[in-house]
């Protein structure tokens, strides 16, 4: 299960009576764990239509459930699918949708980070139900030891909602751990000069072991690496034990996605680079020169 769901339930049960909706194959199976993290009821729909067709069946079902149960607040984990579902749902309900939330002081106020995470803004939400997309890792999941009662979802999905269909699923085998789960993130920016040099980051990550490669928006926009590697305000939030930034100046957009790292090491030619203001160890130097040395050094130490 997406661990963000458990983070959201932990927060939701603190704010009020929490229930969960699970849609797609495996939904009923997930109910036990959702109950353990605070869901009193799980509305479960195992129909494959939710996995096979993008956003429309799920948004429709949620809209029907809202009509039946009148929730005050609906929390979504920020990911590829739920942004689509939440967006469609907001247009159906006409109620407010808050994106990129990182905190929920109450059921009516959501917090978001701006200016590269330097400032936290409280946003009051009006109307019902309030829809909030929460960034992963905003809350720490804690089991409460409850048990959920399961209510099967039985909402008919007509042909008119079966328009965008997944034909094939391709997983690109990335060596090593997932970016948002790795103990170490090795990240590159424009200072790496060209796409081919990301290979050095791959080599460093594999030398370190439990490490994944990330990137800034600038190099994703330049087409060097896929969007899935993007760390920042747009993209993934990471909180590894150590974050190594190579050739990253520290644009506000990037910093908000990585400043939660336990330790930060930054390498940049420009001593004025903003990234040095948050680095525990800053190296003013050429990332391209340093990377091969570092790979050799780590290989040597690990034998």
């Amino acid at each position: 299960m997406d661990s963000t769901a458990l983070e959201l339930l932990t927060k939701a049960r603190e704010l009020g009576d929490a229930e969960a909706v699970a849609l797609g194959p495996g939904a009923t199976e997930a109910a036990a764990q959702l109950g353990e993290y605070g869901a009193a009821t799980v509305y479960a729909g195992d129909d494959e239509v939710y996995a096979d067709y993008i956003a429309e069946p799920a948004a429709h079902t949620l809209f029907e459930l809202i009509g039946q149960h009148s929730p005050d607040l609906i929390l979504f984990a920020t990911n590829y699918d739920s942004r689509d579902i939440a967006g469609r749902l907001a247009a159906k309900t006409g109620s407010t949708l808050m994106s990129n939330a990182i905190g929920l002081p109450s059921t009516e106020v959501a917090q978001t980070a701006i200016l590269g995470g330097a400032t936290i803004v409280d946003v009051k939400l009006e109307g019902t139900p309030k829809l909030v997309l929460v960034r992963p890792k905003s809350f720490v999941p804690e089991p409460a030891g409850g048990e959920a009662s399961v209510v099967p979802v039985d909402v008919p999905i007509g042909e008119d909602l079966r328009r965008a269909r997944r034909l094939e699923r391709h997983e690109e085998q990335a060596a090593g751990p997932k970016l948002d789960e790795a103990a170490v993130v090795v990240s590159g920016g424009r200072g790496l000069q060209e796409a081919a040099n990301f290979d050095l980051l791959e080599q460093l990550a594999s030398a370190i072991g439990n490490a994944a490669v990330g990137a800034t928006r600038a190099v994703v926009d330049a087409g060097w690496v896929p969007y899935a590697l993007q760390i920042g305000q747009t993209g993934i939030t990471v909180k590894p034990s150590v974050y190594l930034a190579f050739g990253i100046s520290g644009a506000t957009q990037h910093m908000v996605g990585m400043k939660g790292a336990k330790r930060i090491i930054a390498v940049n030619k420009d001593e004025e680079a903003p990234i040095f203001q948050i680095a525990d160890l800053g190296i003013v130097g050429d990332a391209m020169k340093l990377l091969p040395q570092l790979i050799d050094e780590i290989k040597a130490r690990k034998g």
Partner: protein, 254 residues
């Protein structure tokens, strides 16, 4: 194939963002066509070149937003619509989607193209709202078009790969960076753009009232986040690799 591309005029992302009260400061800040939208414009132009039809632009924003439309016209788009109204200051994603939907519905269209998320507001929710208001299916995070004739077949980026998705037309797509290489505007393109038709319209022209564009979010507080402190900064004198390896050893990750 009639294609609509939504474009946004945003503060130059290379200039550090500042706040003006509770909103992003836009006055006196150089604006540009959102770099993310250039991929959408290029995608529209490529499809038009292959299949014929037109590429129309739609945007919402104060009068200077016309610059973003002109820029996209100079890349080769055919015409533009800019919705400008004082009542739209501070509009959120839902309001923006409602307004753009009304503007798009004024003409016949087969495909609406948006960027994945804007560079300034980055909610990423507007395209889904727009698709819902238009009543059409949608595929977000498109990184490759396989087929655009009759129906869509595209590759959609996922967290660990991609999905091949088939979708009926009319539809809305959002395109990622990397879907194409946006062209530069030629001098000829820039000159031609000056003569291309652009409609500047108001809410009333769309049959919308200020009630339709009321915003349900308000900023009630701002605080500085807990700041990280800078640690040790050293010049690389040839020992930096050793220093980093020592640091990683101390952190128990190697």
């Amino acid at each position: 194939m009639n294609i609509v591309v939504s474009v946004k005029h945003v503060p130059d992302p290379n200039v550090p963002m500042e706040m003006s009260g509770e909103r992003i400061r836009r006055e006196g800040v150089q604006g540009v066509l959102d770099p993310g939208d250039e991929f959408g414009v290029e995608a529209g132009l490529l499809i038009k070149e292959a299949q014929g039809g037109e590429v129309a632009l739609v945007s919402m924003g104060p009068a200077p937003a016309m610059e973003a439309i002109r820029r996209a016209l100079s890349m080769g788009a055919d015409r533009g619509v800019l919705v400008t109204d004082d009542a739209l200051a501070g509009a959120d994603a839902l309001v923006t989607a409602r307004v753009l939907a009304a503007a798009i519905r004024r003409s016949e269209y087969d495909l609406v193209i948006c960027g994945v998320e804007s560079t300034d507001g980055y909610t990423g929710a507007m395209p889904a709202m727009l698709a819902e208001f238009l009543g059409i299916p949608m595929v977000t995070f498109v990184k490759k078009f396989e087929q655009t004739d009759g129906s869509l077949k595209v590759h959609r980026q996922t967290a660990d790969g991609y999905h091949v998705v088939e979708c009926t037309l009319p539809a809305l797509v959002t395109v990622t960076a990397g879907v194409n290489e946006p062209r530069y505007a030629s001098f000829k393109g820039i000159m031609a753009a000056k003569k291309k038709p652009v409609d500047q319209i108001s809410l009333a022209d769309l049959g919308l009232s200020p009630n339709d564009v009321s915003v349900l979010q308000s900023v009630t507080g701002m605080a500085s986040a807990e700041a990280r402190k800078a640690g040790e900064i050293i010049e690389d004198d040839g020992t930096a690799a050793t220093r980093i390896a020592d640091f990683l050893t101390e952190a128990k990750v190697i």
